[in-house]
Symmetry: C2
Subunit: 584 residues, 2 copies
């Protein structure tokens, strides 16, 4: 059986930074070559970053991607890697598609290419275009209509892109028809809670359907709301895991594979779903047998809470760095939300780059001020106090505010304080809102919603408690000081905008609220179904009423790390003007 040493590089690309991404591809190709790889692969859209969204419709950007691909092929050859086939994702356009009404301008393609001998020897495009959840690919791309197969060292390698595996039909059965010895899929698959298990099962199932080994190379890093968790996988044709990469780490999976010899007659013709087999021979001869040196290995999985926490850290770190910032600014109330955000920020950019401000008002309790200072002491972040008293008095002298208007004013004075410090000193402001309060609109627009990024906007309050406890326990295990004061975790949540206020004045208990929200927001269930699941009818009606009227606030909230299947980002799209009431 022919052998092949495969190098799957799960790298962190940045949207729009074509030069930087190309540099990264060269660097990792050099590493793979040094390790004796025979075939090298990079993720979907590695050259342009993913997702490019409307940049796909700007022809100057598409042409820049195409030109960079050619330059990359030449550069790799010039550096001595011309004989090493490199598979890389990029943005292309269809030269065949005729412009027509309703088709994306310029006929862009979510494409992959094989680079060899200083040239682009094969181009292909994603066949299945996802257009649900965080994906809008049918909006941006025209689909590919080939099954690309390259012969490398006597092995036929079929190629696919991400969604080609997720949907039935298309390239997976076509790979079997073509008799390929390996199916190589390049991917940019966003992280969701527990998605690694789903993905593994999918890859195992598709390998069996394709009738050959399957190599899945994943992207890692963060792009706006999306986090990519890596987790590249290689499985055998019977679905057995041969190698699995670490989660949330940039790196290269190297694995020696024994693969079937390609047929003497190259496959051709039209396979499933009209896919025309496009076959290119790069090297027909098998390698002389060599001793297996790299066996891939199985990187250990993170436990559930650690996995989510790590996703939040990776997403925040990427957002700060890729937008050109070095430091973050957080309003510290002494409560658990801002404390967890601060802990995440310290892990993401280092405590020396985290700036915290306590902004007490007349309603702030002593323990709040103390807990904020204690958090700063434990983490080592930069801490200061700015009282909002004088600003509050100036407003109350000019306007006659009562009730909610007076409560919101305090929150907005804090937002303005944070933005003033941000503009003066250059830190990026983090918003501390969580998914439970965003869902029901329990926040102040232009107040606590102020910020460029909301690290925990997709995290329900009950999970915030779990993550805080996990982070503290992890510190203790490592012999470090737990970052979050126990009192911030233990005390009843309160906005402290009027005397004696607690969240449960306005909201159901979080353990009940979060379960109702999960059914309504994440699973799109209606009122009757939620009541039938065992919740109090009045509580359900009240909760759904709050959610139905909070869409405008959610729309104005900054982006944040997405961890659930249906969050408050681009995957949930409701009209603002909406008279539909489940409770009617």
């Amino acid at each position: 059986m022919p052998q092949l040493r495969l190098a799957l590089n799960q790298i962190d690309s940045t949207v729009g930074d074509i030069a930087g991404n190309a540099e990264s591809i060269v660097r990792w190709t050099r590493h793979a070559a040094e390790q004796g790889a025979h075939l090298v692969a990079f993720p979907e859209m590695a050259l342009t970053g993913y997702p490019v969204e409307d940049l796909a419709l700007r022809s100057s950007f598409v042409e820049a991607s195409r030109a960079a691909l050619d330059a990359l092929a030449a550069r790799l050859a010039a550096e001595g890697f011309g004989e090493l086939p490199v598979v890389v994702g990029y943005l292309d356009r269809s030269e065949k598609a005729q412009p027509r009404y309703g088709q994306p301008a310029g006929s862009p393609r979510n494409a992959g290419a094989v680079l060899h001998g200083g040239r682009v020897v094969l181009r292909f495009a994603k066949h299945h275009l996802p257009n649900y959840g965080v994906f809008d690919e049918f909006r941006y791309f025209v689909p590919g209509d080939t099954l690309p197969v390259v012969r490398v060292r006597g092995v036929d390698v079929a190629l696919a892109i991400c969604e080609d595996l997720w949907q039935d039909g298309g390239r997976v059965p076509a790979t079997r028809t073509a008799g390929a010895g390996l199916l190589l899929s390049i991917n940019a698959s966003p992280y969701e809670v527990a998605k690694d298990d789903t993905r593994l099962e999918l890859v195992r199932k598709r390998a069996q359907e394709a009738g050959c080994s399957l190599a899945y190379v994943a992207m890692m890093g963060g792009q706006d709301e999306l986090v990519f968790d890596g987790d590249s996988i290689v499985v055998s044709e019977d679905g057995e895991v041969i190698a699995r990469a670490p989660q949330f780490e940039e790196g290269c999976v190297l694995v020696d594979l024994d693969l079937p010899t390609a047929a003497a007659e190259p496959p051709s013709g039209v396979a499933e779903d009209g896919l025309e087999i496009e076959h290119v021979v790069l090297s027909a001869e098998s390698l002389p047998p060599y001793e297996v040196e790299v066996r891939g290995g199985h990187a250990p999985r993170l436990a559930d809470d650690e996995e989510v926490y790590t996703a939040l850290v990776v997403g925040l770190r990427a957002y700060v760095a890729k937008n050109g910032f070095r430091s973050v600014l957080i309003g510290l109330s002494g409560g658990i939300d801002s404390a967890l955000v601060a802990a995440i920020a310290c892990d993401a950019v280092g405590a020396a780059n985290v700036y915290g401000v306590s902004m007490p008002s007349r309603y702030s309790s002593e323990h709040s001020k103390g807990d904020a200072a204690e958090l700063a002491r434990r983490t080592g972040l930069n801490f200061r106090t700015v009282s909002i008293g004088p600003m509050f008095d100036a407003y109350m002298g000019a306007l006659h505010l009562t009730g909610l208007a007076e409560e919101n004013l305090q929150s907005r004075l804090r937002g303005t304080t944070l933005m003033a410090i941000s503009n003066q000193e250059g830190h990026i402001v983090l918003a501390p809102g969580n998914k439970s309060e965003l869902a029901v609109g329990y926040s102040t627009l232009y107040g606590d919603s102020v910020g460029a990024y909301g690290p925990i906007k997709d995290v329900y309050k009950t999970l915030i408690f779990r993550l805080a406890r996990w982070r503290n326990a992890a510190a203790e295990e490592r012999g470090q000081t737990p970052p979050i004061p126990e009192n911030s975790i233990a005390k009843p949540p309160s906005a402290e905008l009027r005397p004696g206020q607690v969240d449960t004045d306005s909201l159901p208990d979080y353990d009940i609220l979060d379960r109702v929200l999960a059914l309504y927001v994440d699973q799109d269930q209606g009122r009757d179904a939620i009541v039938a699941a065992g919740f109090d009818a009045e509580l359900v009606a009240r909760t759904l009423r709050m959610v139905d009227t909070a869409e405008y606030k959610r729309r104005q909230y900054p982006p944040g790390t997405k961890i659930s299947a249906k969050g408050f980002g681009k995957d949930r799209r409701l009209p603002i003007t909406n008279r539909w009431r489940e409770h009617a």
Copy 2:
């Protein structure tokens, strides 16, 4: 030739208000019956409002729409209109489609139905699903696969939904194949500048392709960023205009048509694009000849500036009313942007419901304060002055702000003042930002960007000057006081956040800037193409750099009336984290 009196009702539906929309359909059907109509039509999604977005994925909402349709059929019969066929758009689900990965949950359909004799006698779904610009229908719906034809008084009427006309193929050629005597299309087509001309040409062309008369019933009103301009049209089979409804007005177009007798043998089989002809006979016999009483008429077209101004008024009025507000609040700087917003608001909700606040700082000029007061005097809006001096001093005493931080602070103090008054008194805040300054990021996040709605967010500065002059001239023609002070139009634009500041300190002249922006933002052209169009290379590079780095601010801006083919709403989607620079 058989005759038919057609009633096209261009009504204003509200998303989610199924009961209210059904009431409106009954009311307009009664009107049509009183006028002797033989066939009545309502717009696309008239029963649920359009667009429903994620509500399509909630099965309780889909079932509510289906149940309401059945109830509507029964109600119409109970009120004595059972024999009058009514065509109405609603939200349905496919009972045939099998759930599969990547297909919208519950298989929703953008559907139409024919109600007759107290029952739903025919259901059909949109065949072409637009997924570009403001549309995401491929994301939400499964397509229809029939050509529905109803025989009414001896005439075969084929039915279609909106995009079925815009894209080639499908129901238009199928209508010819089926030999229908009339093609009736129900639509919800959002307004864009000059789209009425495009739409008219389309309808004329499609009538000729279908080989029969074509009746096009449009929605009117506003839904979040979308404005529907009405403009229902009836053309003959050779494309001649028989009737055309007014723009931006709710109402009924009545027209008597002479139409070909249907063939004795009903059409059947499979027509173009696999559409199966579904034929239902409601009344086979032609009407006895009657004297033509209604000829439709051609409502006059609005001139260009009046059309845009009217769209802005209609969009704002809908947003305020449909979200349950009665009054609006505007910060009045004395500049042209807030003055135009105030004029639009007075036209939309009445000056008695418009509240203006002048918020001078130490950098506000005397003419600014005077121009704001003069605007209030001319329009009769409610006016007050709140100096931000004390708040500014309180912040400057606590923080040490300079430069941009100090400038932004003033803008944010005004935003907080507006929100405080809004919370206290219940007005909705309008944001005064225009498309030119949003494009280049020349605004303060949480400052002048504060507001629930931005009436002129899609209007370039040069057009703002034109609209202000048009509105004043229109007032003079009517013998009224021009609302906008001449000085607000004539003086150089300035943010007045530091001594002597004018916009041209930071920006190119607006007449040049707006043309560069139109090429870059609206037409997706690249730097080289824009320079080749005759603009200074350095100016283009500087402008594009500003646009490329302002995406985050635009993302946080409130919704606003959309008037252009590519604005800053849901039809333009760029990553925030984006290192692509056209000027590189």
